[in-house]
């Protein structure tokens, strides 16, 4: 079997990834709704294939401050994943979790960062459990790591990961919300060999 990379995607493969994104993001949205006690609607996720040069400015302006939550993955799939939020969404979720008024815009303290990590952890965890359930593979995430910084600087981490193996990166955009729309982005960064495992586990012939 030839080594599969994002350089040779076909429609079938994109459809599978879209469906994974859909189910994963659906799980994640349910998890947030339960955690915050909100009624949340979700839009159909968008799956985009980008060159890593485009990635830095693809979601937000390069210098916009955003929050990124990073987890390393081990076991049947090796690699890492990242969940990204703009600051409006981050404040909305953290203020909700901390039972604060939504007008609160002070810089995050240690407790707020911890809450944000936990939100990222739950969202990523529910995404991964969907992937795990569909593929029957064991995926063990690390503890979550948080960075709040310029979008391009945070996105340099997945760009470098993808850059080691090719020139493309895969981005899953998910929008959900009730009164305030929350935009979240997942980036799954499997190491070489893990794509074949995911697709193979789903019965996709290459």
């Amino acid at each position: 079997m030839a080594e599969y990379s994002l350089e040779h995607v076909n429609d079938m493969y994109m459809d599978v990834l879209k469906e994974l994104g859909n189910i994963g993001a659906g799980n994640a949205t349910t998890a947030i709704a339960q955690m915050l006690g909100l009624k949340i609607n979700m839009e159909v996720p968008q799956v985009k294939l980008l060159t890593f040069q485009e990635l830095g400015g693809a979601i937000w302006a390069e210098e916009e401050t955003v929050a990124g939550i990073f987890l390393e993955l081990a076991n049947d799939i090796n690699g890492s994943m990242m969940f990204l939020l703009n600051m409006d969404s981050a404040y909305y979720l953290v203020n909700h979790l901390m039972c604060r008024d939504q007008s609160y815009q002070e810089p995050f303290d240690e407790m707020d960062c911890s809450a944000l990590k936990e939100i990222g952890n739950i969202i990523s965890g529910s995404y991964l459990s969907a992937l795990s359930a569909m593929t029957q593979m064991v995926i063990t995430p690390s503890v979550p790591f948080l960075a709040i910084d310029m979008a391009a600087a945070i996105l340099s981490v997945p760009a470098i990961q993808f850059g080691q193996y090719g020139d493309n990166a895969l981005l899953i955009e998910t929008a959900f919300g009730d009164d305030v729309k929350i935009n979240g982005y997942f980036i799954l960064m499997p190491e070489p060999g893990s794509y074949e495992k995911i697709l193979g586990a789903l019965g996709i012939q290459m």
Partner: protein, 161 residues
């Protein structure tokens, strides 16, 4: 005041006075600024990975410290700069997430910085200043008129090296 030329990720370019050249939001990547103070020609490369020889997929020369710096020097000489007068300043190479040091992604910033310095030494280009490591992103601007290298970060004052 000249124009500001933008360099993307895994990209490089040169500029002449009175223009300036910038790259936005360096994370673990490195911004390598080369400058010839006599011809007032500057160059900036935004590299992502340390070493092209360790990669199978290495066609993109501006992606790697070794091939990126070589190409930048070549482009500057072609534009009229002299290699013997060139000086270097570098910034970036942050560790954006506090993941365990042993992992591949954990120390990529430090490895990028090390590889950039090694290549500059090989080429005999003195490293005049650096602002690398730590855990935050940087936007850099090189002014070809003065050779000043400005570094901007979220919630921090502009640093000039």
């Amino acid at each position: 005041m000249g124009t500001m030329i933008k360099v993307g990720m895994a990209d490089l370019n040169i500029c002449k006075a009175p223009n300036a050249i910038t790259t936005l939001g360096l994370g673990s990547c490195i911004g390598i600024a080369l400058y010839d103070p006599v011809s007032k020609i500057g160059g900036l490369a935004h590299i992502m990975l340390p070493d092209s020889t360790q990669m199978r997929n290495n066609q993109s020369i501006a992606k790697f410290a070794d091939t990126g710096i070589e190409e930048l020097v070549r482009r500057m000489i072609k534009a009229g700069a002299s290699k013997t007068r060139m000086v270097a300043k570098i910034a970036g190479g942050a560790k954006m997430f506090e993941v365990s040091g042993s992992s591949n992604i954990g120390n990529i910033g430090a490895r990028n910085a090390e590889a950039s310095k090694k290549k500059l030494r090989q080429l005999g280009i003195p490293l005049k200043a650096e602002d690398t490591g730590l855990n935050y992103g940087r936007t850099v601007e090189l002014y070809a008129e003065t050779g000043e290298f400005h570094i901007k970060s979220v919630g921090k004052k502009v640093k000039i090296i």
